[in-house]
Chain length 774, copies 2
Amino acid sequence: MSEADKREGADVGQRGANGGGKSSAGSAEGHKSDELKLAAVYVSDAQYNRNVFFNTSPQCVRLYMLYNHWSLQFLVYVFIFVDLALALFEDPAFVPLPLWATYIMELICLAAFTARLIHYARIIPKQKFWKDPKNICIVVVILLTLVDMIIYGSLKAMDYHVVRWSRVFRPLFLVNVTEGRHLRRAFRSIRNALPQIIYVFFLFIISVLMFSLMALKLFGKRDLKTIDGRSYFTNYGEIIFDLYVLVTTANSPDVMMPAYNSSSTFSIFFIVYILINTYTFMSVFLAVVYNNYKKYLKEEVRQLVRAKRQKMVRAFKVLQEMRDEEPVVMQACWNQLVCVVQPNITNAHRELLWSVSDENKRGYIGKMAFLQLPDLLNIQVITLKSRTHPLEIWIPRIYSSSASRLICRVVQHRAFVYIYDFIILVNAVFIGLDEENSFFSYAEWVFLGLYLLEILMKLYTFEPRAFYARHQFWNWFDSIIIVSALVATILNSVLKPSDGYNGRQILDIVFILRVLRLLRVVDSIKRFRAIINTLVKIGPTILTFGQLILVVYYIFAMVGMELFKGKITYFENSASPGSEYCGNPLLKGSAFAKNNYCKNNFNNVWSSFVLLVELTVVNQWHVLASGFTAVTNASARIFFVIFHILVVIIIINIFVAFVLEAFFVEYTFSKGELQTSLEKKIEELELGIEQDKLDENLVEDMETCENDLGPSETVKGKPSLMFKIASKRYRTVDGLLQRMFEADLSPEDNADDEDPDNESPPGYNFPNPSYDTI
Amino acid sequence: MSEADKREGADVGQRGANGGGKSSAGSAEGHKSDELKLAAVYVSDAQYNRNVFFNTSPQCVRLYMLYNHWSLQFLVYVFIFVDLALALFEDPAFVPLPLWATYIMELICLAAFTARLIHYARIIPKQKFWKDPKNICIVVVILLTLVDMIIYGSLKAMDYHVVRWSRVFRPLFLVNVTEGRHLRRAFRSIRNALPQIIYVFFLFIISVLMFSLMALKLFGKRDLKTIDGRSYFTNYGEIIFDLYVLVTTANSPDVMMPAYNSSSTFSIFFIVYILINTYTFMSVFLAVVYNNYKKYLKEEVRQLVRAKRQKMVRAFKVLQEMRDEEPVVMQACWNQLVCVVQPNITNAHRELLWSVSDENKRGYIGKMAFLQLPDLLNIQVITLKSRTHPLEIWIPRIYSSSASRLICRVVQHRAFVYIYDFIILVNAVFIGLDEENSFFSYAEWVFLGLYLLEILMKLYTFEPRAFYARHQFWNWFDSIIIVSALVATILNSVLKPSDGYNGRQILDIVFILRVLRLLRVVDSIKRFRAIINTLVKIGPTILTFGQLILVVYYIFAMVGMELFKGKITYFENSASPGSEYCGNPLLKGSAFAKNNYCKNNFNNVWSSFVLLVELTVVNQWHVLASGFTAVTNASARIFFVIFHILVVIIIINIFVAFVLEAFFVEYTFSKGELQTSLEKKIEELELGIEQDKLDENLVEDMETCENDLGPSETVKGKPSLMFKIASKRYRTVDGLLQRMFEADLSPEDNADDEDPDNESPPGYNFPNPSYDTI
């Protein structure tokens, strides 16, 4: 089916492109505007790597542009979030709400998803719509949810025990929504890596089974006892579970102790087991997951690059005019296009992009130069305007006095940073000491004052709009922390004398803010900054993994809640009769109850998620699992083992693989190598003035202000306008991925696709995974 | 110093090479033989990547050849092993021996090391000897050991309490012995990666400290209690330790429970902590360790390749004759050389190597062809002789009868393998069932008989010498397991009736052997075989890590024994008074005693090693650490934290990095790409007949026999002699490493070093790490 899918996708896209070029309806002006919009949509799709096969009729193009508007996309995510969050209010609830309230909320969400889907259906051809698994999946989930709501509502009214099974499907909205392309890609990577993983997994299971058999034979007849008096290693099934747990190291010395106590030589058995199964096999899992993940991701990114190129070729076809027997795009047309694609672009920025594209200043550009447009648009260029400090305008005499200049010099001096680093360290010591003492609470005011003074002095020295520019992370961080701390501290002291105040919450926030202030010290050490920058850069991609984890957690939480809700209860009051066995007599004397794990239950979404995090961390998971096994039956283990395999062996390994890969890219490539040809061009044009100096001052050392350019530094008659390429930390996830594999991509992928009308290259349309198999 | 070292090394080598070429003492015959030996030593050094700057005088060369003899090298390792094993018999002893006995053993070992060192000193120039840190290290360790022995012996005689501190240095012999080059390289890699690791580590520590400060502020004032009634998160030092343990996940839900029980929102604090410190920082550690390890290893391998090339150039200079104004080596000379380098080489093998080198059959080879010699020698070529089955010679009539032929066909049939796979599975079920039942013990005899029959039938079909060829791993494995099982089972039944028999040990061995038999099933599934082959291939390099771990463990075990010996006692009899608190009242009611960890102590080397393995596995390490802290004082934690940082954060990560890298190499490169040019040449010459068929039958599918070549398959008039390139699993560690980085090595490293006399290239001599800093 995916093959047929591809072909049709190509057909539609092609027909659209030709249709757009040949139709002659409407006035010439309107036609021109429609063409421009069509081209803009192609460019925008290329820029954001969207793969939607929209109809190219003017109406559809307009609808498609609306569909891609950020506010609608944002709304979709809000509704998804609300839909997922409903679990907090539904039985078993964290905050109970009546059934009709959650039903109304859910219906609104479903209506929103339906509206979005209808919108989508009007944009793309009918037969495409019904061939796309992600649309079918959404439709099916909506229908199933409605059915479930009716059944549940009516049976509940008759006081039957019913299960809200459709909640398991809710995370599928997150996956199958048009914008969930990164998430779908991550799932596809996992699915593609599965066959390889499964072979290693079988081998690993065979190894565990064989060791279990050996353990049964070696220890079963020796009448050994565990600490809690049970017989040791006599039941084959139990041994397999115990040894599986040993692979996760969760019961590490305990499972060995009875055998080891009986004879020292038995420790060899367990050491060999750990060596083979824990160290070797787990490393092999990482290797296999890493290797496959890399391989398939590379393939997908290669297809992305190809698809992007094709879209741009289509946009070019729409806009092209003939000049000197060569198809070209005129500057005026290009300008309009860029304005439609990115309405908030500054004229200066647009001119910069044009001058990069049109190197020979001919007034038009050829195909090759046009194809670079989405990459150019993706480069974050910061327009630097050398603004005058407002104080210099308002009180010029005082601001330019020698005292004022001294302040500015002091602030810009290196020692200023050192002094404040020292203050932070002293502050850290004070925080550690007892804040009940009135001396220390006064000291807190002093520190707050010092930090405020620092910010004010910096604002005095540097131009405020530049100081709070979008990329000045640490300035924002500092100011927000200090102001919040100030507000919270004042609130705290104001509320303290009043009677009804038990302001632990505010105090907690104050404490956290105080400690976060100390974080700044890290930024002043260059090596640390490099590591942190790397971490920040891979942040957006980690968000995709956050979604992935959310989807898996949500499904397991829903299933877990249906299976285990109410079986284990936590009593706030430890004096209540059931508290020492979590309200369930079956847990009397169990390790679960002894360890005081009663609050680790599936009684609401929040505690389910916390429990799943604990299971992901692995330690003591067998105790948690045994608790739930005790209150239900032995098959409950299956739930926990499947969770372990899915989350710890597969997903966490993919996470580690991604961090490794991203770190290598950031680490190995020097800045120079990472620059794309376009960035080089900008530099060659000397429009990005004094890269080194700017980089040093702005990106690396964000304390100093960007428009600290004296009048002597104005070059090339552009005194009030400078450009610089923003730090790569603002790149998109796709950008990072593409850069990750840039070096490995074969040149053909970047080569111009001379004959795009012939046949769609493989992979122009990505078949979406069919999640109904989940 | 290392710079000076290099230059001198080059000088000496040069002088040697020139001296060898110019000296005219002795008879021409003797001179010729000396030259040959000198060249052979160079070739052998190049082959095994040795870097010794020996004197090139004939006497030294002969001494050097003796020095490299395998029996002497083996002896050195025996003495090192004995020296290390002495810890088993010294106080605190696993098996107590009187002091004089261990002293005599140790003196013998020291004498052996001294003899070896003197031998080495006579080979290389004096000033070189005293500039090599590894020699100095050995001398110092020997002297320190002697001093310590005298002090310890005399003070012990006067009944003072003394510490045998010199035992800590014993593993340095393993590191600094001439043959320990892989181990030294591993240590160098770690040392080189350290600066990078330390920066990340500091950042990580800052993060832990800041979270601890927050935890103190958030939880310190709330009067929370842990399960065992202690106050929760009130002491900053304790919090830091608890949160450090949380990074290792060892106290995962427990440390959170009191806070989580008091308020659900506090779980956020711990989840964020785990996300940042456990997942992110630990992945970054792996990334940094992996990256640096790869980087430095690449550099070292590059130097190795360069050094090898230079040695071969010197060997060529020694042997070269002029012909057509081109320096060449004649075939006769080359033959003699190969015979000296590898005395047990077959004539056929040597001829094959020559025909590969001398492509044009000129009777002599130039420099380039000569330089390939060590690589050629490193290729394991198996000489296949089409032998006749002995039975065919002894009883030709019966062996070629139709019944006999049928047996042969049956054995070679695919179904034969399937039937035995099925038998193995049935056997597995029988093993799992109760062997007390007499029916099952009879079944055991049946299975043993079936397995024996299989081996006999195979021996009947295939030529025995080929069946037990050196690389037929699974044949050997099967036969050894079956024969041992047979012997053990017979022993067991013979000894059973006798009275004084409590033969648990023999029965244990029988059980293990029985289960190991099942392993064969894995080999018959192709995918599994591929994974296992990869694991087997990286085996030798894992051995280096085994030594690395041994060195670190030994040092920690020695220190731990001095610090903690006798503090915790294990009582065999659980009724004895001290058993419930491990013989130390300080442990009354501690988690250590409750968990029955008394046998995890430092009372002898064996239990120290087991304990260190448990600490490496990490789980419950804080309970173990707290036990030793309770019986000494809080500073004991330092020992455990340092062990964790060194072993878990650094060494285990390097292990994972190595497995990942090796796996990628084996996984990514297809067989074709891995073939060196030389292997291709062998194939081109059609000497390695029918690679595919042979590979399929021999290497991949080791069940079938290698000389199953009918007379019809004799090609090129070589009916009784075939060659094949052995599976890569027999390559050396260096070979694997070189292959790992072959693709990345710049061509210049493989380029011929045209002017080796000019100056030694950087890195020709590797400075050895100065281990006195350990």
